[in-house]
Symmetry: C2
Subunit: 212 residues, 2 copies
């Protein structure tokens, strides 16, 4: 009986909450938290402002809902990094998953980036409780691989930072990337190849030229 209001949500409730969150994701990702207005979100969702406030306590509530919902999706690729798998494959596949995610979910990437950029005012706890343990765990996995001589001696923490930075860059700095890159269909593949080379070179810097 710890739940205060535990009515099961109706079909309309579920639909409208989903519609609102999707609209809010568009707006928040584009303008940031302060830059977004409830009127914009309402218009995007095709609902009236008071109607939106019927489903959410307020602007901040929507934002927080989006962020915590995003956390799961966001951490998923790292969760999948398998301690039992082949180290090089695992890490390069992780890079690829992160890149795919940045490409397929740019709104989510920008929402997250904006939040962190502002000092994570709505996410401090989540970072500590969700991200930090996972990060530490996977750093330990990578350290283990290094100790076993399976990959080069690199810095696990900063390796992960580099993977995050390079992959999310394509979503977060898309406005800049698109100015500098002529629009080509092959860009996606070129980015993927580049990152593969980049991190693959780091993992086996002293290995013979060929391996496959």
């Amino acid at each position: 009986m710890s739940e205060v209001s535990a009515k099961k949500p109706s079909r309309i409730q579920r639909r409208n909450r989903r519609v609102i969150l999707d609209a809010a994701l568009n707006i928040f990702a584009q303008h940031g938290f302060r830059g977004a207005t409830l009127d914009q979100i309402a218009a995007e969702a095709g609902l009236s402002k008071p109607n939106i406030l019927y489903y959410f306590q307020g602007k901040e509530d929507i934002h927080v809902s989006l962020l915590s919902q995003l956390m799961e999706t966001w951490l998923d690729p790292l969760v999948e990094l398998d301690p039992q798998g082949d180290p090089e494959t695992e890490i390069l596949d992780y890079v690829q998953r992160k890149l795919d995610m940045a490409r397929d979910l740019p709104r989510e990437s920008r929402l997250f980036a904006g939040e962190i950029l502002q000092g994570a005012p709505h996410m401090g706890p989540h970072l500590e409780s969700d991200l930090k343990p996972l990060f530490d765990e996977k750093c330990a996995v990578i350290s283990g691989w290094i100790d076993q001589g399976k990959i080069a001696a690199l810095d696990p923490q900063h390796l992960i930072f580099s993977i995050w930075a390079t992959t999310q860059h394509y979503a977060d700095f898309e406005a800049q990337v698109s100015v500098l890159l002529e629009e080509e269909a092959a860009n996606r593949q070129r980015a993927s190849n580049h990152l593969r080379s980049l991190f693959s070179a780091l993992l086996r810097p002293h290995t013979p030229p060929q391996s496959s």
Copy 2:
């Protein structure tokens, strides 16, 4: 004679404009353009709001002034990349300069990141006119090095993106980095070493990537 109002600025003018821009940099970097208020900037600058509007046409004018002023500083490390120098040294030194800049000027990095994240609403022209030509020029330099067999066959454009992403990450995502890294004095050096390894590994192997 093309200047409309070309009075030379007084000492007070120069001092106050500088004070305002510095205050605005603090506020804009922390809250973004929409999140920042003139009152905050005024308080930070120790001036009254109307007094600020005596020196700048409006909020947007301050923001634009900051951004165009920043452009020079920001591009400087890339300008210094010397086509005549040793390729590996030049690129690794560029990485180091960018990392130092992210560390020493985090406000500027975040201001820039926020602007790009929102789709560069105040910087589109600057990107085209200032950044793009420089970017293309330096990509050509790197391509030249590749053609001469001085470095591995890599993708110049995406290499530069990776350098930007990894270095600026430490400023832009500082809120996340500081949660995940225990505060150590050595972190700065560790990041530097890591990035050196990362890009150095990419440059060295002259083995063309396997296509599959």
